[in-house]
Symmetry: C2
Subunit: 416 residues, 2 copies
């Protein structure tokens, strides 16, 4: 088995070469990958069957949840979505080589800010084998190298899928070897978290234990979210029917999602709170009124409820107990809505809509890298733009700083 | 003495309130600060004198370098620049509340991506007391809270300056208390590095030992650069006079700057390398030809020199030994220049100009937060835009995800 640092070094080299790939070549690679997955799907289903047999034993021994087992299953439908997802990514604009700024600093001295890939991404994910093809496609499109580490339960499926992808890419001219890599052991994860010389960004996709562990054990930048403690604040002037509709959607439409509401804050002056709470209970949701519930992510049909004094109190509660993910105010008072959206310090601040809208596809980003509760780089649902950064190109004909320091020349800083 | 966590909590609260400050109020605050510093400059000079006396003893005991001592001195000229810097920042566009994207997801469902402050910045800096006023002004302008920790050598000066600033702000309506804070001890730094619940970004300004220590000891995002190992590659077709001029400027104009060239790579086929090297030596620069020199930042009149096989070899060397700061190619070959600028993985990639141009003021950013060799968030010279992130506002009238999941409604994603 190759050791991690060798893989990382090769990925770093490949990432440099990938910066030179044209949009046309990258899209050609994506189409080749999609076709190869279609052609070789029987192999993938076989590999998945082997994983499922092993996983079934784990479920029987109580070492794996039924929910995780279900997420491992790769059927015709998921395969079709996986392949369609790659075609969709091939149709996105090239995120690389966009001119973000062009400025003449002085005659013949031109500064350009140009988007470019981040470099090498470390992706750590659980169970779902469709992550492999999605992340590979995003990496190809954004000219980044990746090192993937999936859950051990889907090892065969993951391995087979990446081999098919890499074999397809090797048939497309110019693609550097070592762009897409996979590692399998816990030791590899430990090495990845230390490899800040080679890895530029780590994206964990999985439960909050995984994400927390990673954030606490690396000084490489991490893109993602550990918790999703989302709030809805029902203000004094809320429309009851609208509030019912939104809260029920936010809690029951998909309770295990990270953008599900976990705490309902109700303005003490709201006259119809009993009707609202009854409607929620009748939908099978358990209501919890203890302070211990305020920072909990239930991911289940449970909802913390707290009465607050008004919009200021709601804002304070959310900024103290929330996770900075997504919060919504239900109100007919425009001023309170503005205040809430300005002062709640979360990636998503909504007015009269369900928190469940926090999602890259719903925002129209085409493909989603993940949802970030970071305060730097990228926040909220992150599209492929979150996988690029920029560099400054400066082109001149012998200019030196001394001429400007001495006052012989002056900058004129004209955007062009 | 207040403990660090209490200061951090207060800063976090102040940062939320600061999100509500209008551009007009912030600029009024900045003008008040500039005027107060002008009015109280005698106090500041007195405090600085006390610091200098203490520092002089340290210099005599050999515990402080003469260079650091010089940087401590606050004279009329520096004070004038400090105050002018604040007026300049007051004239910049408000970086907060810019609409970066406005999209109708469906009828009556409007998504807005709006710039907003990062939150609480931890600033750790050495010696130079003018950092206090500059960072305070940038924080006010960008609606961020800060916790500053300066070098102990300038403690009196730093304390006096921040007290004057805070006193000026307290006279301007709406400014939250606790926006600008200062701590003084090493223990405070240790606490800051652990306080990821309160601090959103750490910006170290100082030597590479300081920056390295911080990067290795926190999992909070860090903006900055440890090393500045910049390269110039003189290609086969370089113009000799242009090469001399650029290399001499890059090495001798200000040798201790981070954007000074440290390694000169010369194409073996370049016929006039002897003349070039002689010109550099005649300017008092020591040339070093050993591999040990390839990753060194001399910050002095010393230059590592290596012959390479061509542009590919130069790119490989830089990506292996460089620090991702700034590199320049001297060539008349347009194709090589393009290749170099595309494949060198650094914040600044230049053609026929001095590396010394890597600077926020020279790029026309108005004010500089620092120079970043990060691969996420902000790269290269960072202006005030590096102190903001964004949030998503979603405004509707009762929309729920279930309608879209069931196909009863469709997104139309139209930018408006």
């Amino acid at each position: 088995m190759e050791n991690f640092i060798d893989i990382a070094k090769r990925a770093k080299k490949a990432s440099v070469k990938a910066q030179g790939l044209s949009a046309e070549v990258k899209n050609r690679g994506l189409v080749a990958v999609a076709k190869a997955l279609e052609e070789h799907k029987t192999e993938i289903f076989e590999a998945n069957k082997a994983d499922l047999e092993f996983a079934k034993e784990l479920v029987e021994k109580g070492e794996l949840s039924q929910a995780t087992y279900k997420r491992l299953i790769l059927d015709e439908n998921k395969m079709r979505d996986m392949i369609q997802g790659i075609y969709d990514i091939s149709k996105l604009d090239d995120p690389v080589n966009k001119t973000l700024l062009k400025r003449e600093l002085d005659d013949g001295l031109i500064l350009q800010k140009v988007s470019c890939p981040i470099g090498v991404l470390g992706i750590i994910f659980e169970a779902r084998p469709d992550v492999i093809s999605q992340i590979s496609a995003l990496a190809i499109k954004s000219s980044n190298a990746v090192i993937l580490k999936g859950g051990k339960e889907s090892k065969n499926t993951n391995k087979t899928i990446l081999e098919i992808i890499n074999s397809a890419l090797s048939g497309v001219n110019e693609f550097p070897e070592g762009l897409l890599n996979q590692v399998y052991s816990r030791e590899d994860v430990a090495e990845m978290l230390k490899a800040d010389k080679y890895i530029d960004l780590i994206i964990p996709r999985g439960g909050n234990k995984l994400v927390k562990f990673i954030k606490e054990n690396t000084n490489i930048a991490v893109l993602g979210h550990a918790d999703g403690v989302c709030h809805i604040f029902v203000d004094e002037t809320a429309d009851l029917e609208l509030a019912k509709r939104v809260v029920l959607d936010a809690k029951t439409q998909y309770p295990s999602a990270c953008n599900t509401v976990e705490t309902l804050l109700i303005n003490k002056e709201f006259k119809q709170s009993e009707e609202l709470l009854n409607a929620i209970k009748n939908a099978g949701v358990e209501l919890i009124f203890t302070p211990e519930s305020w920072h909990k992510e239930y991911s289940d049909l449970k909802l913390a409820v707290k009465y607050v004094d008004g919009v200021d109190d709601a804002i304070e509660h959310i900024n103290e107990y929330g996770s900075g993910h997504t919060e919504s105010i239900i109100t007919e008072n425009e001023e309170n809505a503005q205040k809430f959206m300005n002062l709640v310090d979360s990636a998503g601040v909504y007015h009269n809509v369900s928190t469940r809208f926090a999602d890259g596809f719903r925002y129209g980003f085409g493909a989603e890298v993940g949802i970030s509760t970071n305060k730097t780089h990228a926040r909220g649902p992150v599209g492929i733009d979150g996988l690029v950064i920029y560099k400054y190109k400066l082109i001149g004909n012998g200019q030196i700083v001394n001429d400007y320091a001495k006052g012989l020349k002056q900058f004129h800083h004209r955007d062009i």
